[in-house]
Amino acid sequence: MSALETESLGKRYGSKWALRECAIEIPSGSVTALVGPNGAGKTTLLQLAVGLVRPSAGSVRVLGRSPRADASDVLPRVGFVAQDHPLHRGFTVAETLKLGRKLNPSWDETVARERVERLRLPLRQKIAKLSGGQQAQVALTLALAKRPELLLLDEPVASLDPLARREFLQSVMEAVAETGMTVLLSSHIVADLQRVCDHLVILSHGHTQLVGPIEEILSSHRVLTGPRADPETVARLHQVIRESHTERQSNLLVKANGHVYDADWQLHEVDLEEIVLGYLGREAVLS
């Protein structure tokens, strides 16, 4: 079953579509990265998933149901950490956790206590006095103590230093190992994603560019280099994502349709970052 599924999902603000014709399926138990530049529609998609905004077109189903129509069933099973982890800055850590306990019927106090202890979060300290990394961990604790089946994270590590980023992702991965929950996290830091995520959604200008398991994505994309040539013959068989040429040489990023056998071209493997940049660069050229 999919933890999250959208069909022709769209959201319009005034005359501008923030998200359009979005069709994705996030498999249960996966850790999916939602990648794209600022303004690509990542936050809109996550807000649609928790019912914070209403779709202008299409539908979204979370854990098999509508997050707005069946909110009382869906929302207790979903953890959501919004961008910049908004918390009451005047509350202490203890007060923040108490709020979480009062607001969430499925609150697991053991999960919360264990995390606070292990991360040495100062219970009597005000949120405003915590480091960015600690604030992020408190926000994550609130979400994890709900024991969610689906955890949505909007740019969770963008504002953190490398060490705090690592610690945050370690926490998320440990929770996944323990509970098998599904995670969807948006990010524009691609380097972290390859080790953490197993599925990828590339979003740009409100449209999905690529959706799939990362392993398949890595094995189907190749860079071809060769003497300066028109990519037309290649494009007949494979999808050319990006091309660049110098006077003597051509460079193509392709999504291969099966194996590439072509004596004219040299074949290179690509890493995730190069693929993501290829797709994002392509969209910029088109628009």
């Binding site: 991965m173 190992a177 390859q194 080790r195 953490v196 056998y261 004219d264 074949l267 493997e269």
Partner: protein, 130 residues
Amino acid sequence: MIQFRLDTRSGVPTYLQLVQQVRQAVRLGILQPGDQLPTVKEVVGDLAINPNTVLKAYRELDREGLVEGRRGLGTFVAEGSPTPPPDGVKELRTSLGRWVAKARAAGLDDDAIHTLFADTVSPPSVSRVA
């Protein structure tokens, strides 16, 4: 117990790096039959990687017969794994040390030594990808 490390720039998939490190540890006798591998949660907490990656690595090692999962207990190096006795490895290491010294004396630099060694272990087969 061994601790995994990741080389993110090597281009080798993460799960394969874990597999190779266990294979190597078993071959060198650092891991002996009956020894436990780190739990999935431990590896994940240590390296901040996807638990499915660790599971995939352990499944692969299980398929090779190098380790066995015991339900509820963890993953252990299988009995009958090709572990050399630690003494044997030590002896080989010493004689290899002597060989390296000889190669250096003959004027080979590290690159040349690596190449010669790799070449002897697995002679390159000619392959073309494109």
